[in-house]
Amino acid sequence: MKLLRIKVEQLRQFRQPFELSGLMPGLNLFTGPNEAGKSTVVRAIRAAFLDRHRSSSVSDLLPWGEPSAAPTVELDFELGGQLMSLRKSFLGRKRCELKVGARPLDGEEAEQHLAELLGFEFSGRGASKPEHWGIPGLLWIEQGAGQEIAESVGHATDHLRKALDQSVGEVASSQGDDIITIIRGQRDALLTSTGRPRAAYLEATNERDGLKSRLVDLDQRIAQYRQQVDELARVLSEDAAEAQSRPWETFRSQQAQAQSRVAAIEVLKGQLAADVAAVGQLKEKQKLIEAQLESFEAQQRDLKTREATLTDAHASVLTEQAASEIRAAASTKAQADYRTSNEALELSHQEDRRAGLMRSVADGLARGTNVALAISKAQTEQSLLASFKRLAHETLLSLVDMTLLRQQQAKLNELRIRREAAATRLSFDLTAGASIALGQQALTGQGEKLISGETCLSIPGVGTLKITPGGTDLAALAREEEALLALHQALLQRVGVASLDEAELRFASHRQALVDSVHAQKTFDNLAPGGLDTLREELDNQTASQLKAQAQLDQLPVPPGQPVEAIEQATAHQAVANAFLDKVTKEASAAFLALATAQTQRDAAHRERDALLILLESPERKSRQGDINQSALNTRAEHNALQARVLTRGEEVDAARLDILAQDVDRFRRSADQSERVFRERQTHVTVLKTKLEEAGAQGLEESRAEVAARADAAGKRLGELTLRAEALDLLCGMLDSKRAASTKRLQAPLQNHIHRYLQLLLPHATLDIGENLIPGFLTRVGNRGLEAGQFSEMSYGTREQMGVISRLAYADLLKEAGRPTLIIMDDALVHSDAQRLEQMKRMIFDASQRHQVLVFTCHPAAWQNVGAHAVPIAQGA
């Protein structure tokens, strides 16, 4: 299919007719800025073919603000070797005219004809929808839709499949897909997706297993039953045998024999024990005799010891006596020494006291003199203080009065000055000799007078001038001054002075007297801190103690002629003598004590030796010793005889092994009990077994088993059938799938080849798989890390767009080979491609344009300059 001319009118921005003519059979490039009308041209082509002329859903074709317009498209094109001309108007004037060569077609007939030729459909009613667009929907790439391919391929699948079938010349399988669906459904009814049994198959497996385990259980029970039957037979025969032989009776008689043997041995054992006891008694007796003999010998030994002790005691007494005498002499001497040293010490004390007393006397004398001197000075100072105090009293003027006087004087001065200031000043310079009288006062020469009250100035010869000062308070000032002066005079009088100056003088005298009296008081206090009386008392005390020391001194004995030892030395000598005396005294008493002890011991030793000697020498004692010696001999003989018998009897008892005999008794008794119990238990066991077997017999175990076995067999058979069916279905599914996949691959080979051819230009060595639904699937290419593969849907926007264009070019090639009309329109496609990719894409598009008419609309003329086509600008109103 080749478009030759396009003309639009009253369509969107083309209110006026706009025509593109002389379209090339291959590549056509239309450029223009945004809004210039490129997309409108594309829309017009789509409207001309895909929208019904009667459609009222195409109002988007109307120019803005012209609701009654009739958007019109005229297309001249060549299709299948025939020239065709289509004129279609919408909305305002709904018309469709198609000329196929010379043959005119009109209205819906024309539309239907075009749809069949181009491979699309119309919607039953309403706006044209993508699902009806078929081949045009796939090959006419709308703005921004280059990467969306799945849907448009889906709407063109039938056409593509037919084209593929036509090119390969075989069909997939007319009923293959249905069969696969059925077989898969049957398989899935028995197997899970992972091939494990489910539903009926699983139930059959479970049932078979359940029955098998029941069978096992029944087999066990039957085996148990049989074993119990055998056991019963065995037990019964044992029972019969034992009822005959009664083995426990044998055991009982054996037990009795063993018991009587035990009794005999017990008797022998009693006799043996008696003998052993007798031997023990003899041994005790021998011990007593030996003890007695031993005590006799001990007494003899004791006597010798006592003799020796006595001798030693005598010697001791002698030794201690000598020692005691020596100690006594030493003690006497030490006492004498001690007395001498004591006397020397007393003398030292006496002389020391004397010296002390003499010092006291001298001291007391000196101190008494000093005190008497202090007393006389203090008395002088005391009288001086009294005179200062009298003067201070006489000049007494209080600070208050003094201050008041001073203030009054100051106020008076102030009042006088104020009066003078307010008074009328009368300056005069009288001629020498001239005089005038002011009031009573005569004035001469030069001067100045203040007139404070009404005053008469009498000028001799002239008369009298009466002067009245102008100030009104002048009189008040005078009154105030007068009053204050009176107060001042009264105070002066009360204080007793004539003037303020005199008061000042008196006030100063008073203060001096006060200072002086303070000084005098301090001097006095220094001399007699406690007062005069204290000093006098001290003087008395001194005198008394002096006298007392003198009296004591007088009483002391006369001092010795020779010098006396110092008191410390005498004390030391005395202490040494004292210590030595203590030591010697103690030694002496110790020696005395030792002597006394030795004497006591000697006396005791004497007594003890004498007493023992008397005892040993007595005749009773001698006869008793003889008796005991005889008894010792007899006892030894008796003991030997008895010992021999014990030995014999002991051996007999040991040989009999009473413990083993007792065990024998126990053993036979137990054996009897045991065999009797076994016998009884066996009878119980027989009863139990019989009951069990009767019960089991009544259950019909083997018959049940046969039933279960039958069911298990049936279940196994069914399972086998299901297994076979499941495996067969699984096998079928696998084979059908793989055969179908292989078939699909074979069928899609031509499309794959076309895609491969284009793809190599963009991505050498890459492959883009076409899925079963003819949609691009996996893209495999050589990347940085070897082969990389990814789903079409996961690729970048740009790559998807490129793959979308490549696929469409390939679809176009496929359709072309099948003799279908192809027209490729790209409205601003590949805008997301980088420069390098775009270069390759342009090579492909140019290549495709060798076989198909391609209309490229772009707003980037520069990018498409080298696409190999003359750029036709689209401009509104051109």
């Binding site: 293959g176 049989r226 083997e702 018959e703 046969a706 069911r711 055969k739």
Partner: protein, 392 residues
């Protein structure tokens, strides 16, 4: 066979007659069959006992000799025990029974149970140990060698040699086991019986049980076989023996009386050419309600033959008592024509071809079986679609 009027024995010339039977195997279940079939087949065993009772009455025998394996197992349900003894009611004369290996007279056994249940009828003479039962009024003595253990390895009939009976009284032996050296599978088997026991013990007749087919050992020694067939072995089962002994020492006259209901057959058919299938189809057409069949098909068949055989099998199954079919060894080889008829174009055709080839490969038996089944499923599905498509 000389049928005698009833009670002839009490009317002058006594002609002693016995009915010899064994191996009733009451309580046996038939696991190989579906329960629909197994139940009637099991019931048939009781019916056989009823038949025996009826025949005993009809032939006015002196006694029925049952030589062991009356019950199939020691523990059978009470109901089964009662049913059996009820089935024997048709003959009021003496029934002489010995236990066999299946129902040996153990300390506790089906017999002790039956006794406890009070199910044993008065006319039953049950020998639970080796014994001599004398019937003076009937002028015969039964020498019984019952099994008292499941398996014995000494000949229990040996004591017969020394058992004395009054002169002129018939000596009838009953035993259960394998006659040594006679039966092929009896080498070293348990419960041995000397082949010349009848002669050595001066027996007029030795009634044996254990062998399920009817078999004569010598002129006086017989296995009656089971009265109702219970396996696919074609060994003359389904009879009771009417034994007539004219006088002590006389050679017995033994007659087979049919007692069985079902006929058990196992068919092995290998298919390779079309005529094989035709032969099979013809045989299947003849199948009737007394048939218990097991058909094993091997070889190969095309699709149309297979469809036809399956159809015939289906029809035969509806007629027979039981029809079990084993097709595991039968390979399905659709012809090009078959595949064309199925309209299996494209990859479906490839799948069919591959499955067909799979059956012929050296794959395991199991894998080939799966392939055959898969092919069957696919072709059946396609054929069904063809059929519905044709209707539509």
């Amino acid at each position: 066979m000389n049928a005698s009027p009833q009670g002839s024995r009490y009317k002058g010339i006594p002609v002693p007659r016995f009915l010899h039977t064994a191996d009733w195997q009451i309580g046996r279940q038939y696991s190989q069959f579906s329960s629909d079939d197994a139940l009637p087949i099991a019931e048939a065993r009781l019916e056989a006992v009823q038949t025996i009772a009826r025949l005993a009455s009809e032939h006015a025998v002196d006694a029925v000799l049952v030589a062991g394996d009356v019950f199939d197992a020691q523990t059978v349900a009470e109901r089964t025990i009662r049913k059996l003894f009820n089935a024997m009611q048709g003959f009021a004369g003496p029934w002489i029974m010995i236990p066999g290996n299946h129902d040996a007279a153990l300390t506790e056994s089906v017999w002790t149970q039956a006794r406890r249940l009070g199910a044993l009828p008065g006319n039953l003479h049950l020998a639970l140990q080796g014994t001599l039962l004398e019937f003076p009024s009937l002028n015969f003595a039964a020498l019984c060698a019952p099994l008292t253990q499941r398996h014995t390895y000494n000949d229990l009939t040996a004591p017969f040699d020394d058992l004395q009976t009054p002169d002129g009284m018939l000596r009838i032996g009953l035993a259960h086991g394998s006659v040594q050296g006679i039966l092929a599978e009896d080498i070293d088997s348990a419960n041995p019986i000397a082949p010349d026991r009848a002669r050595r013990a001066r027996l007029d007749y030795l009634a044996l049980g254990d062998w399920h087919g009817c078999k004569q050992i010598d002129s006086r020694t017989w296995y009656s076989g089971t009265p109702e067939q219970d396996r696919f072995k074609g060994n003359e089962a389904g009879f009771a023996l009417l034994v007539q002994i004219d006088a002590p020492g006389a050679e017995p006259l033994v007659t087979r009386l049919a007692t069985g209901k079902y006929v058990w057959q196992a068919w092995q058919q290998s298919l390779s050419v079309t005529s094989d299938a035709d032969e099979l189809i013809a045989k299947l057409d003849a199948v009737g309600p007394r048939d218990v069949l097991h058909v094993t098909l091997t070889g190969q068949t095309d699709l149309s033959s297979q469809q036809e055989i399956l159809l015939k099998l289906s029809h035969a199954r509806a007629r027979a008592r039981s029809l079990e079919v084993d097709l595991a060894g039968l390979r399905l080889l659709p012809t090009a024509q078959d595949i064309g008829a199925l309209k299996a174009d494209g990859y479906l055709g490839e799948v069919i071809a591959e499955l067909r080839d799979l059956q012929g490969t050296q794959a395991s038996e199991e894998d080939r079986g799966v392939a055959t089944h898969a092919l069957g499923l696919l072709t059946t599905l396609l054929a069904e679609r063809q059929a519905t498509g044709a209707q539509a």
